[in-house]
Symmetry: C4
Subunit: 228 residues, 4 copies
């Protein structure tokens, strides 16, 4: 099946909306119900991992299920999406993400439009975002070569792990970072801290592109290769 651009853009917007709605909404639910922050993070992690598997499986065949500007950027650099469509993807991802925050607030009877006060900054956080995004993009690029039908599960499990092993809880996504800037809840981030997160995410993606580009060439550079 090949879908026209309007449906592909709708799928990107809807997917990012539901992803952010899950991240923000489960954060509100978990934080409200528990006095233990690790329990809250479990209640935030498990839904996020689960919804990623669902959304990528369902919308992947329509739009590719990027839901993430750095993923779209990587595919544009690999010339697998045009620059024009890629920019449109990024626009609907950001818009969809913000709507996802607002929808979560509306469901939980909170002020719909919020600005986060949650400080997320410092070298450790930035290093964490580089690592988190390196891992996410490397997962996608290696899986495309070795087991592409497993991408939904692999991304869901990767983010499940990265919520815990990275100090930033792994945003790894500029659209999600911007959208979480609009939520003064468990999952929020001060808008002031978003640009550095985005920069770190772009760096992590670039490293993943370079490393996997080298790693996935099966034959040694020293050997003569046939033209492919």
């Amino acid at each position: 099946m090949i879908f026209d651009p309007s449906r592909r853009l709708f799928a990107e917007g809807l997917g990012t909306l539901l992803l952010v709605c899950t991240v923000v909404g489960s954060g509100i639910m978990a934080d409200t119900l528990s006095a233990d922050d690790a329990v809250s993070l479990l209640g935030n992690t498990i839904p996020t991992g689960a919804i990623l598997v669902v959304l990528i499986t369902l919308l992947g065949p329509i739009s590719g299920a990027h839901f993430n500007p750095v993923v779209t950027l990587v595919f544009a650099l690999r010339r697998e999406i045009s620059v024009t469509l890629g920019l449109a993807y990024i626009a609907v991802q950001v818009a969809g993400g913000i709507l996802g925050s607002l929808l979560a607030h509306a469901m939980f009877d909170l002020p719909v439009v919020q600005v986060s006060q949650k400080l997320r900054s410092g070298q450790g956080q930035w290093l964490a975002e580089i690592v988190a995004t390196f891992g996410l993009v490397a997962t996608i690029l290696i899986a495309l070569r070795v087991k592409d039908e497993a991408i939904p599960v692999l991304v869901g499990l990767y983010i499940t792990a990265a919520y815990w092993f990275t100090a930033s809880t792994s945003f790894a996504n500029p659209a999600v970072a911007i959208a979480r800037g609009f939520s003064d809840t468990f999952a929020g981030i001060r808008p002031l801290d978003v640009p550095a997160f985005i920069a770190a995410e772009v760096i992590g993606a670039a490293i993943a592109l370079a490393v996997t580009g080298w790693l996935l060439r099966p034959k040694s550079d020293g050997e003569p290769e046939q033209a492919e």
Copy 2:
């Protein structure tokens, strides 16, 4: 394999019974054991997601594994089940669901017949049920097109997420809502609040039917199409 109506109806009733028994029973167990409501919700979520995968995998080949009147309604509108059989499905779903509540109470040595006092009402809750049911029905309808063998896992994971990201903990099912009205425990809902939940669920299902109807037409409306 094709199963006769009596077996299909039995499968719908048994499946809804075990689904509600899991929702109510795990809620009782979790709430009894923990002082932390997020831990209780984890102990309610994980069993519900797990049993959905089991029940849909096993009973799907027999009855389609709807276990949910709005799902049956959607299939009736798509003319994939007759109105007569559809009404019978809904009747056994409701009856099975109520029996599931009673069975859970009996196992936990509680009064078998109960009426819930738990208030679940307000705009946020109703919006949450619209969102929850939209997501559930959209998951099923898109998966039927792009990966139908994954439906049991996708529904299990979707509900796992929706327990946390929707403010209502995602009933998304009129039979389950009615059955939970008969349980004055963690998973209960005041009978007075059930009709609005059902209305919201029907609205969510209708939106999902409309949106996926448009989304899943691969070619643009503007282009000439061949007869299919």
Copy 3:
């Protein structure tokens, strides 16, 4: 591959040993680490579900991976295992299970041989064991017809749910019940209470055999059927 009886019996014994060692050991670990009994039950549930998937996948091709006398009994009634070999299966399941309890104690520096003092009795508990074993045996028998390659995952997920929705935490297995009688820890059961559990488990299995026998005949009884 066909394996000789000594290897099949070894697989049954080893599998039941590791299953009980996981149930008892994770119960000790979880109970020691947490003051919240629902957290302890999560720490008992997740390992049990996980190891079931592993053990059934690995040892199923060798012995059928029963690890459970009522499962062996059901297969003997279906004439899929001889009475002699079935009795030997049950003997090694019980012996393996007991060794699993002892091994868990040894790892956690507890007295190796123990007798449980934990009361588990009453009508609710017995009803729970009937329901739990009905569900387990029905899962296996239906899956054998509709999706046998999914049995390891389905059993793992079913037990994950049944730990929470049944009041007894779902022993559903006479060998495991006997073995847990030898452990005065989180997962223990007074030996005095074991016989009633076993009786309930046999009743649950018998109901599952009868119900699925009727349910899985695709054509209506009223219609003439071709010889198969």
Copy 4:
């Protein structure tokens, strides 16, 4: 695809780095956020199981995804990897593991180089490491015969269980044990206690090699066999 030694070694080093980074990083996150040690262990277990599935799926086709000196040793004894390459594997596993600890510390703004003070010793712990490594190596060796495409999931689930049912939380990996010696956090181990852990792991692997060698010969020893 066949990959040259430099890429295989890079994959082993990167995989072990990310594995240890997940074990140590999620331990820090979980321990910081929670006052309940079982919640912390859940927050340590779920990410570890998840990342194992991801890393083995992605890097298995490149290097075999050992990430573990005893696994490499077993494959060397089975002559499936040369001694020279095997020693190089072990070297990059150890180096990658240590870097993984350091990276976790850097992300969490802790002193990058640390020496653990956490006592992990005694007969129970050593027995636990024998059991844990026996189970891990047996899982791999049996799965190679009966369902090799499931190895990533089986190893992830096995370790998920073993974190809880073994008293040592299942290191089961000399490279990981050494790397955890460099972390004075939740997942740490006193360097003084590492050699006994490694000895226990080698014993567990040897038992697994012997037991599965016998178990997986389909025909009885007493019967005449055809040359294969």
